[in-house]
């Protein structure tokens, strides 16, 4: 007697989220139910977090916290986790990844969801200032931000407003990995931050598009971990003074960073770490970017050349 068994069914949910396109992919039944149920669960959680952590939604928890004049404010457990992750990223990168640059981001023009076509990277590079590595903000305001997880409170100096940046997306991928890790295979794409794994140890292709046009310039093949990509081409515009701008700021100047590196993909065991490493690598400039990729990754330079680190 023979039995026909069909394996490898992958449920896929694709949906808009975090100002981009998100996806949840699950193979095999597991703790979160069938592959379809698990993918739907991931989608619902990502959409809920999107509403909770958006800087552009007036009623989001983040916006309410940023408006709150009190030095210490109550927060949800998810917000407490995010702030801890953001402070961890700041510590890991020596302040290069700084979650307290919201006023500078707004001054640079990133005060709303960017829906217009990005300013072409090649043109931005022609108009941009001389290349230089970014540095931490000497005031290091993030050092004065604390979270009391037991009391569910956040304390920060008056006037300090937080931005989720990409760290939140990395964290959400990590949280979903906890729910989906018991399935055969899964991948969560949080608007470009990818977390993947599964008990079957299946290899998954992770594709990296070029910042100069979108064609795939490299494909990693991995079974578990995270990949995050930071770059200056997707969210880019001309500011009020006609200068090229983007959302990755040099904390030392509060201005968009032009370091000679235009895009970095970092691999890491967790999404939070991958996100922090990719940003730190880009901000560090072309000479030091590779030192931020201990788990591997891909660096794309101003001239379009790319370096793969396995």
């Amino acid at each position: 007697m023979s039995t026909l068994t069909i394996t490898g069914i992958e449920a896929v949910e694709r949906f808009p989220c975090f100002g981009g396109s998100c996806a949840a992919l699950v193979q095999g039944s597991g703790p979160a139910g069938s592959p379809f149920e698990a993918a739907a669960l991931a989608r619902h959680r990502l959409e809920a977090w999107n509403g909770q952590f958006s800087r552009f939604e007036r009623d989001s928890e983040l916006s309410r916290i940023n408006r709150d004049p009190r030095e210490t404010v109550p927060v949800t457990p998810a917000m407490a986790m995010f702030v801890n992750a953001a402070l961890g990223a700041a510590e890991l990168t020596g302040g290069l990844v700084d979650p307290t640059l919201t006023p500078q981001l707004e001054r640079a023009g990133y005060d709303r969801d960017l829906v217009a076509e990005p300013f072409p990277l090649a043109d931005a590079l022609k108009l941009s200032p001389a290349r230089r590595p970014a540095g931490p903000n000497p005031q290091a305001r993030w050092l004065r931000v604390t979270v009391n997880a037991a009391a569910k409170t956040l304390t920060r100096p008056p006037g300090v407003r937080l931005d989720t940046g990409g760290i939140a997306k990395g964290l959400f991928g990590d949280l979903l990995a906890g729910a989906l890790g018991g399935h055969d295979a899964f991948a969560v794409d949080a608007a470009g931050d990818v977390r993947f794994g599964g008990r079957a140890g299946a290899v998954r292709q992770i594709k990296v598009p070029s910042p100069f046009g979108g064609s795939i310039i490299h494909t990693f093949e991995l079974s578990e971990g995270a990949a995050a990509t930071s770059g200056i081409s997707k969210r880019s515009w001309l500011d009020r003074a006609g200068r090229p701008a983007h959302h990755l700021l040099d904390p030392s100047t509060g201005r968009p960073a032009f370091t000679g590196v235009v895009q970095v993909t970092a691999l890491a065991p967790s999404g939070t770490e991958a996100e922090a490493l990719s940003k730190a690598a880009l901000l560090s400039g072309q000479d030091r970017a590779a030192s931020w990729l201990p788990h591997g990754g891909l660096i794309v330079f101003d001239d379009g050349s790319a370096q793969v680190h396995q």
Partner: protein, 93 residues
């Protein structure tokens, strides 16, 4: 005369039996061929990852999801069936 009629009847009956057997064999062969062909088509379809039951489930989910989403948004669900995982793209976040 009577013997001739009996022989004729017997021959006709024998011919009818042979014809019945012949038709029965043809019907059985045609049925078996049709079943085998249908089975092979469905087998190939499932193995190649195009289970219509799964495709139907995905469409249902898509409809439900889209109806709950704002008009300006689009979303989709689907199922793919293959031994490998679906590639994903890491892009600037």
């Amino acid at each position: 005369m009577a013997d001739d009629r009996k022989r004729l009847v017997a021959e006709r009956l024998a011919e009818r039996r042979r014809r019945t057997v012949r038709l029965r064999k043809r019907v059985i062969a045609a049925s078996a061929s049709t079943f085998g062909l249908a089975w092979a088509v469905i087998f190939v379809q499932l193995v190649s990852g195009h289970d219509p039951a799964l495709a139907h489930k995905a469409r249902t989910t898509t409809t439900a999801a889209t109806s709950n989403a704002p008009a300006s948004r689009t979303s989709s669900s689907s199922a793919s069936s293959s031994a490998a995982t679906t590639p994903v793209t890491t892009s600037q976040s």
